[in-house]
Symmetry: D2
Subunit: 349 residues, 4 copies
Amino acid sequence: MTISIAVAGASGYAGGEILRLLLAHPAYATGELEIGALTGHSTAGASVGELMAHLPQLRQRRIVETTAENLAGHDVVFLALPHGHSAEIAGQLSPDVLVIDCAADYRLRDADAWQQYYGTQHAGSWPYGIPEMPGHRQAIVQARRVAVAGCFPTAVTTGVLPAVVGELIEPDLSVIAVTGVSGAGKKAAVALLGAETMGSLRAYNPGGKHRHTPEIVQNVREYLAPEAAPKVTFTPVLAPLTRGILATVTAPLLPGVGPEQIRKVYEDFYAQEPFCLVLPEGQQPETQNVVGTNMVHIQAHVDQTAGKLIVTAALDNLCKGTAGGAVQCMNLALGLPETAGLPMAAVAP
Amino acid sequence: MTISIAVAGASGYAGGEILRLLLAHPAYATGELEIGALTGHSTAGASVGELMAHLPQLRQRRIVETTAENLAGHDVVFLALPHGHSAEIAGQLSPDVLVIDCAADYRLRDADAWQQYYGTQHAGSWPYGIPEMPGHRQAIVQARRVAVAGCFPTAVTTGVLPAVVGELIEPDLSVIAVTGVSGAGKKAAVALLGAETMGSLRAYNPGGKHRHTPEIVQNVREYLAPEAAPKVTFTPVLAPLTRGILATVTAPLLPGVGPEQIRKVYEDFYAQEPFCLVLPEGQQPETQNVVGTNMVHIQAHVDQTAGKLIVTAALDNLCKGTAGGAVQCMNLALGLPETAGLPMAAVAP
Amino acid sequence: MTISIAVAGASGYAGGEILRLLLAHPAYATGELEIGALTGHSTAGASVGELMAHLPQLRQRRIVETTAENLAGHDVVFLALPHGHSAEIAGQLSPDVLVIDCAADYRLRDADAWQQYYGTQHAGSWPYGIPEMPGHRQAIVQARRVAVAGCFPTAVTTGVLPAVVGELIEPDLSVIAVTGVSGAGKKAAVALLGAETMGSLRAYNPGGKHRHTPEIVQNVREYLAPEAAPKVTFTPVLAPLTRGILATVTAPLLPGVGPEQIRKVYEDFYAQEPFCLVLPEGQQPETQNVVGTNMVHIQAHVDQTAGKLIVTAALDNLCKGTAGGAVQCMNLALGLPETAGLPMAAVAP
Amino acid sequence: MTISIAVAGASGYAGGEILRLLLAHPAYATGELEIGALTGHSTAGASVGELMAHLPQLRQRRIVETTAENLAGHDVVFLALPHGHSAEIAGQLSPDVLVIDCAADYRLRDADAWQQYYGTQHAGSWPYGIPEMPGHRQAIVQARRVAVAGCFPTAVTTGVLPAVVGELIEPDLSVIAVTGVSGAGKKAAVALLGAETMGSLRAYNPGGKHRHTPEIVQNVREYLAPEAAPKVTFTPVLAPLTRGILATVTAPLLPGVGPEQIRKVYEDFYAQEPFCLVLPEGQQPETQNVVGTNMVHIQAHVDQTAGKLIVTAALDNLCKGTAGGAVQCMNLALGLPETAGLPMAAVAP
């Protein structure tokens, strides 16, 4: 039986990446998966060939308007829409359909945090799409609705989780995450021009103002005692590359925690995870080594003089950070092999 | 029955890209293909994990010395070695083995041209690895030895071939090809440092001095009358990107040739070719749309005032320009589907 | 006596670069030059600090609306406006004022060529701002109106002029010029986003469709016999760097012309020019070596097999290609030293 | 009277940048400064034109061997040498000569810290070249020996100093500094190739292992009570740009410190400093806005939820971070205006 898939917001960067992954998915090759409606708003009516020449197999296909009717009749709907719009469409889709939302609408469980950071009413919360977080994989397997995690929270959470769960650090995280420019999406803005971003570095939404902050807090808090109050300060930095996030997390080590313990905890934590690779001692995550893949490369360092743990984690913001995470969740919810169609070997250099 | 594959020069950029493609090859997933010896010279003894962290599936494997013994016992041997070294090893491999050489040693049929450009004795010539050149696919299917084409000649030849075969231009080609830095390989040199290449453009080996020049001449001459004497001046330009070639070819139009004829000839010529895409009128090849793929995106323009045809062609120098071309030839020679394991959708943006 | 200078379109890239040069001009340090009105349209009302944080000395200044009134009362007016708008404003400025126009409005002498490429009525022609073109420096010295040359025509013209004037080539030029993204200006457009331009190469306005084509033709024709009909086919290529043009010009050599003659002609032609540097044999122009300067680095190569001259020329599109050329013309017209305030040493690497 | 200047290590990136600044120094234009011996080791014998084509004014000059004899007879000697080599040469120079050392040899006052991080014997300590640090400008004015600060310590120190001196934070700093590739110098290494650095991000020497760590500690400690024990964990991140450092410093706010106080302290602290610019609220430092200049652009943010100060500071690692700092110190020590020859307006975009 064929599973038909629609992609809403197909002509954006996340939508295009979902399509790239589906086209190479083994279940697409066998006809088990098929690609149905591709929707957009400003791009409705245009061909995929005009909009995304990097997807030649679909070049004759047309983008149709993002409406519940156009998305109806599919078994899976990916939503790669701006937040707000995502919830609006989601509300109109049949409960039987598997809906995988790449926007923020259903990520936060705390309505106040939503209100504070997004300024609108909270739409609700869905099973959260980081299967590597203890307890979440099973929820995704049973879900008809999944909220794909944000790109920064995916990097930061997978990077720091072993230390949090293993009770190695105080929950007082200073997070600086350097990101490529595709994270800002395919919208015209002077500040995102090539001339403004090549050859430059700048922070944005610094010091806890970025909307991914409460999502990181939620993920960390989940594994702490109820009375613990994690502190997270998060600042992203824009750098001149297209894809890739290198997140750094600094946190105070708990007394007596040393490098060997850190290493063992990290290696054990991810020993069975196909997409989280703890690098050997001395080797650094490099974003080029994860471009186009669903991997997170992770390293943990102990600064004994300063009494800090410094974790570095690299992923591809469009793949593991968005579309890859989304397809991984789809695989789980459809009962397909979790790793199907998800590259592990990067397009490097 | 399992086909075992060795890669000589596995730790270089071409070798790494061959491995990336093999790991995602459907016949590798089924066990029909297996990856055997990985050889290197300065890197012998090191693990793949240390050298190529972008290939996590192979990270425990070790590079062994590039010797005929280490390469023996495989059904397929890819040679991703410097020219000269390639021929030396090739001479020691069994005639039954499928040998696919990514170096220049066996590309040229003209021993004088070899001598002039390489200054050493000509090793001979093998079936030439651009299946899209009329007459070549069948030769590759039957071959046990294939000489993969150079990255620039692949772009230039596929770009200009319809006009040459279709007798639309004088064989007087001015070729400027802009290339990313991975084409220079993984060797330490001040001129190839990030600090010397980011933010800069420079030509190199200008005006016919580049060794890919006689290969382009040979490919063009193949479809001309014996008495025709093609002129080709070729200059590469180094630009600040990792992967990608954008070749431009300018040639005088023959009298009476107009845009409609050009368009029709180009579209017809490649109508059945899976990897050569003639873009719709008005759309330009962009290297980002072919990164990680085996595609060539091609456009042809008529400058009626100047009486010239200007062709632009984009490919990924490490994929279609080297490793992808090599795997395409392997597929043909092994009787596998020609497109198996060769991405068409790019990692863009 | 103080010379006051206004800059119209001050918040664009060309305007900002004019200001950078003026701030470091020795006559600005002495108070001989002063910076007056800075105008813009969409940016009117904003401070320089908000718009151009790279000019801290002017950060308190405000952009005012681009009107003839705001520009009145200055001794020098730089116009860094879109074509069309430039002529409109220029028509309202006093004939006594030195007006230096960075747009195309007054570059072309041929009204038909203007009409064909710009589709509007021809505004007229002014002394043309490449002082290195024989005969032009004196005209600029005496001018109250100067049309600064286009960035591509400056590179191509200075590159090919010795060969044209020296009668070494047939006037049949194939021009491919690779450019950084700042040439497209500071306007929001998806195709110019960092995500669309980093890591990619693409041609645009190919095959003689770019508006700089008739300007190149005009410059070449000026030194040919009246009956000569130069052919120029011009295609620009966008590359992932901010500043820099590397122009390549290919042309058939006239019979008997060899490398020694080429070298001697080139070196003699520019021996007295401070801003045109013919590099020693074997050394290539690199755009990083001219970033921030008013230099053109030039090299000429003979491809004897193909019978072609290949010239490569590098400049900074915003400096020598626009603002530097403009300040050079200002210096000449004001009787200041031609080289005053114009960097020759680049910000490299 | 003419002051003659020698540059040891002239063909490296720091040496080249010192020369770029000297060539545009107003005292060079008047003949008050002259450029004497240019020394190197592996480059001895080569011309500046071959090695640094971006300095056309000096292209005929030759690099001579780095020896005390070749450096003798100058009034000023800049040492742009690897650490160790710097001290070796410095020991042979006359005490009357103004020696400005860009290496680390004389930066640290703590011999144990030197031994721990460099593993060799401590050469001693000289007046330290950040004039903006309270108390240091006067020492430089009177010095015949100056140790120019490291690029990261310059960014971090100027960024955090107002908060340290103003007693706004606990001295517990988490520093992540993103840097361009020129900081690694002009030496061939695979890890620094364009193909390995474009399109990638990676940390290096993480968690306090980088040699600039004790220098940051020393600078912070200088303004604390003797019993205070500052904690600094420092991790640099390599990003794909040539020039620029964006340093982020996170530190716990002392109780009761709020945004208004922070802003006032920062603005007051640097009100008289020409090269340290505290940006208006809401504006971020961007490295492109300081390229080629001696500026540090600084912003301070309060994360009240996490109780942290986050400072961002941008500078050009080769200019303010090395050569600009060196020329600033030369100006002070020679009694020239401190800002002479030091650009404030950047080559942007």
